[in-house]
Symmetry: C2
Subunit: 327 residues, 2 copies
């Protein structure tokens, strides 16, 4: 089964279990969460949990509570990130804080994070709760750490971010949760430490590639296929592997221009176009794109330890899916 087919085949069971975890009452707290979840999303994280479990010969029932908890956690972070980034839209609709105001959006996010733990403590097999809980919480902490590091760059108006610092940030904010998804699949299947570590490593690599690819797409996607605004990241002054490469690998005069441009509060369409043109000219987009592809190649190669060819191929196909998408 290839990635597309597998994703389609697991969507129903994931969606159903996600909704089953959202309480009906009080409506003023949970109603908006049901609506938020119904907006969809790639569901790549729970798919990776189930695929990893299956690749390690486990049963889907063991992995499902972890899969759903991870996707609900991801949705919780979106609600809070949207406040933190002042984003007006999410998945084609106004963000929760745009609809209900910041106080209610913060609280509903918190309620969703509690729903995550409710799913875990109630639905995970008791003998897997501690081990699985530790994998979960280590990832959840790294997500907040990555987000905190990035928010601090904005607060301090810092553009002198090095590649290592960037990788620590994105490694927490994005890769940790995808790494945990694959690790939990293996853990819930009862796989050995070595297989768990291999899948965690695979997940972190494709997770990082996913983020880098996201940043590349934001500057280069086909506007007809892309759901966000091209160049939005430049508009927000976002630090990415692209901007870091651009700042580190250009003559002093260009560097100054780029930093001034990214630091502007209000950017014109020309500013954004100029930044994208410079990123192309100095090879920064290619650098990031190659970086992501290398990560996926390494991730795929690292699955040598994984038992059956069938499972390995599914995971590798999912790895490809992540960098080959067009939106």
């Amino acid at each position: 089964m290839n990635a597309d087919e597998y994703i389609r085949s697991r969507m129903g069971v994931i969606e159903k279990e996600m909704y089953a975890n959202i309480p009906a009452e009080p409506k003023e707290v949970y109603g908006m969460l049901g609506e938020f979840i119904s907006r969809g999303g790639k569901r790549i994280r729970p798919v990776l949990v189930l695929a990893s479990c299956s690749a390690c010969g486990g049963k889907e029932e063991s992995a499902l509570p972890f899969a759903v908890a991870i996707e609900l956690f991801h949705n919780f972070t979106l609600i809070h990130d949207d406040i933190e980034d002042a984003s007006p839209m999410r998945r084609g609709k106004p963000t929760i804080h745009t609809q209900y105001g910041i106080p209610i959006a913060i609280n509903s996010g918190d309620a969703l994070y509690s729903i995550v733990w409710n799913a875990l403590v109630r639905k995970v097999e008791p003998q897997k709760l501690r081990g699985g809980g530790i994998i979960m919480i280590d990832a959840f902490r790294r997500v907040a750490e990555g987000q905190g590091i990035e928010l601090n760059w904005y607060r301090e108006n810092r553009f002198d971010v090095g590649e290592k610092e960037y990788l620590r940030m994105a490694g927490g904010k994005t890769a940790a949760l995808i790494g945990a998804s694959c690790e939990l699949g293996a853990y819930s299947a009862g796989a050995g430490k070595e297989e768990q570590a291999a899948l965690k490593g695979f997940g972190e690599k494709i997770g990082l590639a996913f983020q880098i690819k996201d940043d590349v797409l934001n500057l280069t996607a086909d506007p007809a296929k892309y759901r966000k605004k091209i160049g939005e990241d430049i508009d927000e002054g976002k630090r990415s592997l692209i901007t870091i490469h651009l700042i580190a690998n250009t003559p002093e005069s260009v560097r100054k221009k780029v930093v001034a441009l990214l630091g502007k509060k209000k950017k014109s369409a020309k500013d954004i176009g100029d930044a994208i043109a410079l990123a192309k000219e100095y090879g920064s987009i290619k650098y990031a794109s190659d970086y992501a592809e290398r990560l996926v190649r390494e991730a795929k190669a690292s699955l040598g330890a994984l038992g059956k060819a069938e499972g390995r191929e599914l995971m590798q196909s999912l790895g490809d899916y992540i960098v080959e998408r067009e939106r």
Copy 2:
């Protein structure tokens, strides 16, 4: 041992374990959390966990991770509540969002909530993780539900809140966590279902009394002893048992005056003084005060099921402490 002595005797172990749970790095995420915790607080919740455990003949080591997790959770809610209520000060210092901005404050609160679960999954005895986790998460959910209900009153500018609705809100926002504190103490001691239920009931009653007493103090405290501004709740248009009684038990003309006054965006010192005077005149403060005292009486009487006299007396003394405080 009376309440004061007991609280003093347990403070060291609670504080030490709280700090032990806050990671050192990255500083930009966790530094402010260590500082926030160092501002102190009554620590009434962890004290109740330890006291309940001891009253049920348990060992403190079993109860300590729950005690600390509950207090860290409480601190997390303060960080987010302060954003939601736009409060400038907390424990004599600027609130986290006043110091670092709303984005970082939201994220640091989230990081603290993750620290709560880190403490639980790593430090609770594995065989108590599921049972204790369920007690925890049920309380955490009710806290967010109570907060959500209250935020919605503000958003809809509703003053026609009934006593039953108020009790549901405060029962979640404040009483649930104090009920869980006592229940977890019993649970960690290995007490039977009946004792656990008795302590939960005791905790919820004194928790509700605690909130009502808080609201009474806000209007009647001795300014020399009180740390907040007298009448601040009126200024914020807060719905309390006092304002609900005042609106429900006064002639139409007074009711209208009170609703108009509470609904004002900007209130003068005279407005606040007028509201307090009306609450006194129509017996609303006495009503709330009596209500809180009745709850504590009932809570204390309900501990008949509890084994040893010594433990029972400590719990009863802690119940009294909650309504007898002056700030």
